[in-house]
């Protein structure tokens, strides 16, 4: 317990960093991923191709590799200078967006095709159909896998430790420098992540319940 109480400051600060990194990347990946899913179901073949290419390239590319690209290779292109924190946000967002895209797309596929046909027959544009009819109905089947994707993102933030972006993944280093029991410290870090996951799981239950009524 003393490992935690003696370093409470450190724990709170670095878990705060984790939360920040997670929150920014979550928002960005949800927006980008939903946009990519829209591309993948659009009537325009070129858009579908772009979406498919994105997912093919980024899904299951090792996250470390994505980080390496944005921290070390990307600066060599001399386009726009970004610091390591931004590189971490970009890497996590782009990587997670590929998974979000596929989760949203599978949700879209659960909505009967008649819903889209009725929208089109009424004169709704593709974007109106997606926004007003298809996505709202896709949401409810998307909630459980989307929660998993977000939990994976939360834990993936620790990869940033290797690239000088400080968050909960760096607690071990700091403890070891101070001569604390590192293994015990890691247990507390693990518990910290469990605590962070709990509200996500709770949110999943709330959304599942709310959206299951509306049908």
């Amino acid at each position: 317990m003393s490992v935690l109480t003696n370093n409470l400051d450190l724990f709170l600060r670095l878990f705060g960093q984790t939360l920040q990194l997670f929150a920014i990347s979550a928002v960005l990946s949800l927006v980008l991923g939903t946009f990519l899913a829209a591309l993948r179901v659009s009537p325009v073949p070129v858009f579908r191709g772009i979406g498919t290419l994105y997912v093919t390239v980024l899904r299951n590319t090792p996250l470390t590799l994505v980080f390496v690209f944005f921290v070390f290779a990307y600066p060599l292109l001399e386009i726009l200078r970004i610091d390591n924190y931004v590189a971490a946000v970009v890497s996590l967002s782009l990587y997670t967006a590929a998974f979000v895209c596929e989760v949203v797309r599978s949700g879209i596929n659960t909505v009967p095709v008649g819903q889209a046909e009725a929208s089109r027959a009424l004169g709704l544009t593709f974007v109106q159909m997606l926004g007003n009819v298809v996505l709202p109905q896709a949401l409810r089947s998307v909630v459980p896998p989307m929660t998993s994707t977000m939990i994976a993102l939360l834990k993936n933030t620790t990869v940033a430790s290797g690239f000088a972006v400080v968050q909960a993944g760096n607690i071990r280093e700091s403890l070891s420098e101070q001569g604390e029991n590192v293994l015990l410290g890691l247990l507390w870090v693990a518990l910290g992540f469990v605590i962070l996951v709990m509200p996500l799981t709770y949110a999943q239950q709330v959304f599942e319940k709310r959206w299951s009524v509306a049908r």
Binding site: G114, A118, R120, G123, V133
Partner: protein, 250 residues
């Protein structure tokens, strides 16, 4: 364009369509003048539903011309969306928006497509629901309604766009028998009010009573095009005789 030379509401000329190797529409010709009610009959697999769906381009065609109110169907995009807004469609499986209430279903397209203010759209929606006899169901979700009520709501939803023409794709085929009549009554009312309608159906009673013209399709071809009296009392082709023999004997 002057009234004298007004184009037909629907013109289908030389239309062919394939599903893979299957030739589902074979050189189909059809004109529906303004105000006419045309019923399309035929055995299943004859292409009548496909024909109905090509008219607002839910099914693209492989060759030929389709015009609505003198305007050829544009390719997929904003312009096609505008044209579809003027063509009401009623589906066999209703396709009401499952996550919206009945009145929201009817309001959605006027608000989003026609940019009608919500209050006005709701008022019109309630009037339409009144007209099809389900105003008291307005705040329910589609799944809470019977099939007949859902289909009447779907008709109200299509009418809310003030369409120039209504397409009905087997509107009563998914209904329990006791609910067929309530939907047909609404359709008969529409026909009497002068709506231009193309109705794919198996309801011979409706064809006799409400249709100005009967089209008989078989194997992707328009085989007969005549008045209901003529078609039911003296069909010209063997295929039509065979079809009528099968359905009128039971």
């Amino acid at each position: 364009m002057t009234a004298a030379s007004a184009p037909p509401m629907i013109r289908v000329a030389g239309v062919d369509k394939f599903f893979g190797p299957l030739h589902v529409l074979k050189n189909v010709q059809l004109e529906v003048p303004k105000g006419q009610v045309v019923v399309v009959l035929g055995p299943s697999g004859s292409g009548k539903s496909t024909l109905c769906r090509t008219i607002n381009r839910l099914e693209p065609i492989d060759s030929g011309v389709i015009e609505v109110d003198g305007q050829p169907l544009p390719a997929e995009g904003k312009e096609l969306a505008r044209l579809r807004a003027d063509v009401g469609m009623v589906f066999q499986s209703f396709n009401l928006f499952a996550h919206k209430t009945i009145v929201e279903n009817v309001m959605l397209a006027p608000v989003k497509v026609r940019k009608t203010p919500a209050a006005e759209a709701r008022k019109t929606a309630m009037e339409l629901l009144e007209r099809v006899g389900i105003a008291n169901q307005a705040e329910k979700f589609p799944a809470q309604l019977s099939g007949g009520q859902q289909q009447r709501a779907a008709i109200a939803r299509a009418l809310a766009m003030k369409p120039k023409v209504m397409l009905f794709d087997e509107p009563t085929s998914a209904l329990d028998p006791e609910m067929v009549q309530e939907v047909l009554d609404v359709m008969t009312g529409l026909a009497k009010d002068g709506m231009t309608m193309l109705v794919v159906t198996h309801e011979m009673g409706f064809a006799r009573k409400a249709a100005d013209r009967v089209i008989f399709m078989s194997d992707g071809e328009v085989v007969e095009d005549s008045t209901p009296e003529e078609f039911f009392s003296a069909p010209k082709s063997n295929r039509a005789k065979d079809f009528l023999g099968k359905i009128l004997t039971h």
